[in-house]
Symmetry: D2
Subunit: 133 residues, 4 copies
Amino acid sequence: MSHARQMLDSYPRTVNVDRGVLAAAIDAISDCAQACTADTDADLSEQNLAEMVKCIRLCLDCTDICTATGGIISRLAEDDPSATRPLLEACVAICKTCGDECARHVHYEHCRVCEQACRRCERACRELLAALK
Amino acid sequence: MSHARQMLDSYPRTVNVDRGVLAAAIDAISDCAQACTADTDADLSEQNLAEMVKCIRLCLDCTDICTATGGIISRLAEDDPSATRPLLEACVAICKTCGDECARHVHYEHCRVCEQACRRCERACRELLAALK
Amino acid sequence: MSHARQMLDSYPRTVNVDRGVLAAAIDAISDCAQACTADTDADLSEQNLAEMVKCIRLCLDCTDICTATGGIISRLAEDDPSATRPLLEACVAICKTCGDECARHVHYEHCRVCEQACRRCERACRELLAALK
Amino acid sequence: MSHARQMLDSYPRTVNVDRGVLAAAIDAISDCAQACTADTDADLSEQNLAEMVKCIRLCLDCTDICTATGGIISRLAEDDPSATRPLLEACVAICKTCGDECARHVHYEHCRVCEQACRRCERACRELLAALK
């Protein structure tokens, strides 16, 4: 259980977006960043390393972009849409690409779980983008 | 719900530490990093800014150290104890200091919630340190 | 002096972009992330805190986005343009907004220096975007 | 050229440590974080992947710890030594371990350059630790 929703509910300023949608995005992003970090390490433990290289690189990208996006959407009071929107679009894109790559390795349970985390994050970021319109 | 435990359970190598303790630490660290980011922003929205400056700085430190610690303990296969132990000790220390400072502002609900996240993270990192012995 | 250019020159794969432009962007991004972190702390030390809040928030956003962008463009081998392009656009946007805000506080030397770091980073990211076309 | 020293020289509060030592540590840490990110990607491009796995993992750890340390030492005004000292010790340790591992692969120019970045960072963090005493 995260404290993301409680932090939003105690925020001293108005939050100009549905708090449920925002809290869901924050949680999905934290989770996806961690799952991709763990999947990188799990991939590095497999025998067929050459086939896992693309997955490793995309997981690293996904962690970096999710970490930044989680920071920015946790500080929405002084939101600069000219940065927040393309950042969320980058996050949707990398979650899609990374999820698709993980889906090619679902015979590895860790890639199957990581794919789920990526899909959930992609969906949550799309919903936040729609809610911010 | 995070996927941290599922990622650990599908890890291809042996994990030399109790998986429950490790998953709890990973979740508490992610949560604390986010709560501190949100609390920084909430603090910046209060009237008595001068009194919140110390809390803001400690929350920023706490987020940075938690983010690094979460990465390192998500990749425990090639663990270097000479780095992991002091890093966990730094994480325990900053969660303690930051939680203590938040406790001075519990009339703000956001500081009360952030204190909880810091205390949980401090406890989870102490337990992980003990389990790694 | 950074090792960014030497790392690029020793990269085992082809780099599909001008190495000078890429190294300049990597250096400008690292520098901007650090300058914004330092400026956040310097702002928090000023008397007129209420006037500095917007600058603090934008500096925090700028650090997060620069850190992610620096990671992604340091791993260009498996480049996913659907994520890299909007991320670079987000980086250009936040450097512009943050630089503009710092420019409002140039009576503070730290904001004047931070503005320079933001402008250099904005320019370097624009040049990289153009070079990636 | 970074703006780290200029940011320190314009800091509104007293900095309780030699500014030259601190600026050198900030620059070495930023550089090492980036070199390790680039070396991870370069390692992933080599043929003998199985031999590079340890180097990749240590480079990832080194980037994470350097990034956190760079943030904390850029905000020294509200320094909490109980966190800063073990964090710097963790940074020294991971730079040593990662540099030693890179030294085993100096037939790869990228590992040779990354080793240099790690050694410089280890030295700069040791000097900062001594200066903070």
